[in-house]
Symmetry: C2
Subunit: 230 residues, 2 copies
């Protein structure tokens, strides 16, 4: 069985806050739990907040372009662009919701490193080996609605590679690299959303074989050269 629990009572996060400590104080973490933390609080803790000066909309657009390395599409207010990390998402991850007026959260500089830092902090304080995922809500091509995906991870596989294994009929399986970290981020969001926008959730009971060193950037981000849609 897999269980997903939202971690309640997290305070408003400020620059310099140690998320690992705040989670350990509020959750009884166990070996091989996966701790999913939203990008928003990671960005706040890391001081990845930008001031918007002048007209809100113009300032936001400028910030989105600064956070982008390539714009893929524009429609009205919406910009779909590629970030320095290689993520393709709306508005380069620039986020004004739940921010004070005149401020915007931007993505962590290296979300895999953010995840490692939280994982190491949990190990040091709680004495348990966990997986950590930093999640964000991204839209998709072809399908409406956002889902939470992993923008960084540590200690848990980003992708579980079943390529080349044989199915029950002896046939070699096709296209079975499963993006476990994205499914974990989406699963965590079900509990976060139910609890009313809580920024941390724990997924317990994940397959022990999926815990290993890993990185969203190395495993999930598709290089433009192998991407059919860039």
């Amino acid at each position: 069985m897999i269980e997903i629990v939202a971690v309640g009572g997290m305070p408003e996060i400020r620059p310099g806050d140690e998320i690992a400590a705040l989670v350990c104080e509020r959750a009884d973490l166990r070996h091989h739990d996966v701790v999913v933390v939203t990008q928003k609080i990671v960005s706040k803790a890391e001081g990845r907040v930008e001031e918007l000066t002048g007209d809100d909309e113009d300032a936001r657009r400028e910030l989105v372009e600064r956070e982008s390395v390539r714009v893929l599409r524009r429609r009205d207010e919406l910009i779909i662009s590629e970030t320095r990390h290689g993520f393709v998402c709306a508005n380069a991850g620039v986020d004004l919701s739940n921010m004070p007026p005149g401020q915007a959260a931007v993505l962590p500089l290296d979300p895999d490193r953010s995840a490692r830092r939280i994982r190491d902090g949990i190990r040091a304080r709680g004495g348990v080996d966990t997986g950590v995922i930093v999640s964000d809500s991204f839209g998709r091509a072809w399908r409406r609605g956002v889902t939470d995906v992993a923008i960084g991870c540590a200690g848990i596989a980003a992708i579980v590679d079943l390529r080349g294994t044989r199915d029950a009929g002896g046939r070699v399986l096709e296209a079975t690299e499963v993006a476990i970290a994205d499914q974990l981020a989406g699963a965590a969001e079900l509990a976060m959303g139910k609890a009313g926008g809580v920024p941390v959730a724990i997924v317990r009971g994940v397959d022990d074989g999926w815990f290993r060193e890993s990185s969203v950037r190395a495993e999930i981000v598709r290089p433009p050269a192998e991407d059919l849609f860039r």
Copy 2:
């Protein structure tokens, strides 16, 4: 808390099998459980299996083109196309894994109807109102790896629409139509994968407010006219 449990002991599915009955015999379903069923067994139960004659690879390619209304990209063996349902996926959902040699499973004609039929069957046999999702593994633009998404649903929201609601700071939230059904499908796959490819899982503890009549086709499939990537 949200719990996800794989339903073990499902038999090999044959045309005409009633999935609702097979699930009710093996799981103690409760009010507002979400039952996630893989496309593969739904297709088998509905007889959506095609014979491949002649050279396996040529026959497969012909079948993929027959199941497509529009080809978006080709690379080597891979065809990314749009199906009659409006899904954009690899090989139009044609699936040879875990099938007898010379046979391929194709997508259900109307996966929302498939989900409704299973939901109605569970209500009739088990006396409980559940949500039902038919899931399949789709690749994504820009990100490696497949995730399970909903190709049909009944009794549970495909999208929870938070557009226009205000966040804690009074700011109108942007881009917060959440594709709940896709996150539920991905969450279920974590338990299915852990259990070794079990084709049914139950998600328990989902927000009661998310249970309503719904449809993947109406809510999640993005019409080409509003799609920036077709």
